[in-house]
Amino acid sequence: MPLASRAFGCGSLIRVLNPMLVPSPWRADFPAIATLQRQDQTYLDNAATTQKPQALLDAISHYYANGAANVHRAQHLPGAHATQAFEDSRSKVAQWLNAGDSGQIIFTHGATSALNLLAYGLEHLFNAGDEIVISALEHHANLLPWQQLAKRRALTLVVLPLGDDGVIDLQAAAELIGPRTRVLAVSQLSNVLGAWQPLGALLAMAKAHGALTVVDGAQGIVHGRHDVQVLGCDFYVFSSHKLYGPDGVGVLYGRNEALHHLRHWQFGGEMVQQADYHSASFRPAPLGFEAGTPPIASVIGLGASLDYLSSLDQPAVFAHEAALHDYLLHGLTARKGVRVLGSPQVALASFVVEGVHNADLAHLLTEQGIAVRAGHHCAMPLLKAMHLTGAIRVSLALYNDSDDLERFFEALDQALDMLR
């Protein structure tokens, strides 16, 4: 009997015989999963953040145990080692995105700070009446920086509507993206609806009008390999911690031509070229946009996580995620009164239950050690537009297996029994 099944008592025998069983061969690579299991916790909140592979823990431990040093400023040996490791991570990220010579990788403090960098660094391009186009499903991180920029500069924030399937309506987009559009900023994969967005068509529309294109890849990067040169976006943003890396690091890919438009935003540290008391000049990307000491250990850790992910059989990972997602959707739709939001394609499913408050359901799932997310998922306007006060979201990672989902379903049934 596989280890993962043995841990869960008598019900597992039946599950072992179940042809639908979806084990994860990568589960043991993530030490926190075993710890959480000992605490009777089933972690299904992976769209919020992920558990970390041992390879990442080893890399961070190695860095701190072997001599921390600041990067890009010291001539000494520890500084050279740290800088080398830091820059190696930059190359690994560039490879992960197949950036090649097309652009630069800038490290920020998170996806949110990368999007804020864009909203401030591109501000000078806008004149009153210009338009910024986003979509109705944006995470607050890709909504609020643009909304506030629109307020500062008297711009119009245009919101692309969705179809019932949770995908941006391309017909509407064709009418809304126009000659006043300066920037199109859209999510690649919705953190609430789990639907891939039609980036190819949207980016083509924006480019036809000479607009800059920004892709929020915070969820998308975790569930597919994306080539920024094929995508053809000007900027691509993601956060490390959702991609099995450390928190405190975001990535901004910028295409060379687009980076010329980006003005410096935060100042200080080694981003400067020449400084006088009353004036200064600044470095180009990437270093010019990395003010202050960067999160060195975390950047090195992200490199280790990417090495780990690169070592996996990628098609097997995606096949596993697809099988688990099927398992999740089947289980949800088989239950009476459960309504799944949109038509999730991958990674997650959000749902509500008729006649049951999501806060009550969340309470009872928590009591049973099920770690899922309840509420508005940092997409308040989307939930409001769907006339929902909240929803429960189950989100998957490569280390999850069908036993995790069975425990979730058992807890869900128990909770619904009590609430109905």
Partner: protein, 137 residues
């Protein structure tokens, strides 16, 4: 300070609880016993901000004693609020100021409902109660 009768009843039932199911069922029962809030009190101004569900809270000092009333569209938070009212209703202004409400929930075995990551709104309700008690003091 002697406990109000409702609080004594709450302590007795919650301290003898064995399982999470029992505790959850009792919370729902307490929530159901919460007297209905008048429609004119269910207004934006009485809505407690910071809850995943809608919670209205009103409080008045009558003859020197606090009387709070509340309502929620969710059942668990309704139960938690009912347990809160069981402890505070009838207290004088000075007694309400002195009371350790987080400790009350700890005694009931419900301290986890007050952890900072909880967005169920109990923390927000306590905060609102403190504000109400200050403004009418």
């Amino acid at each position: 300070m002697s406990l109000p009768a409702d609080a004594v009843a709450a302590l007795e039932s919650f301290q003898s609880v064995g399982s999470w199911e029992q505790r959850a069922r009792m919370l729902m029962q307490w929530g159901e016993r919460l007297p209905a809030l008048a429609d004119e009190d269910k207004v934006e101004a009485n809505l407690v901000q910071g809850c995943e569900s809608l919670v209205w809270l009103v409080g008045r000092l009558q003859d020197g004693h606090w009387q709070f009333a509340a309502s929620s569209d969710a059942r668990m938070i309704g139960g938690l609020v009912a347990l809160l009212l069981a402890r505070v209703n009838g207290l004088s202004a000075a007694q309400l100021q002195a009371i350790d409400l987080p400790d009350w929930f700890t005694q009931l075995g419900l301290s986890r409902q007050l952890s900072p990551s909880r967005s169920n709104g109990l923390n927000a309700v306590l905060q609102r109660m403190r504000e109400l008690s200050r403004t009418q003091n």
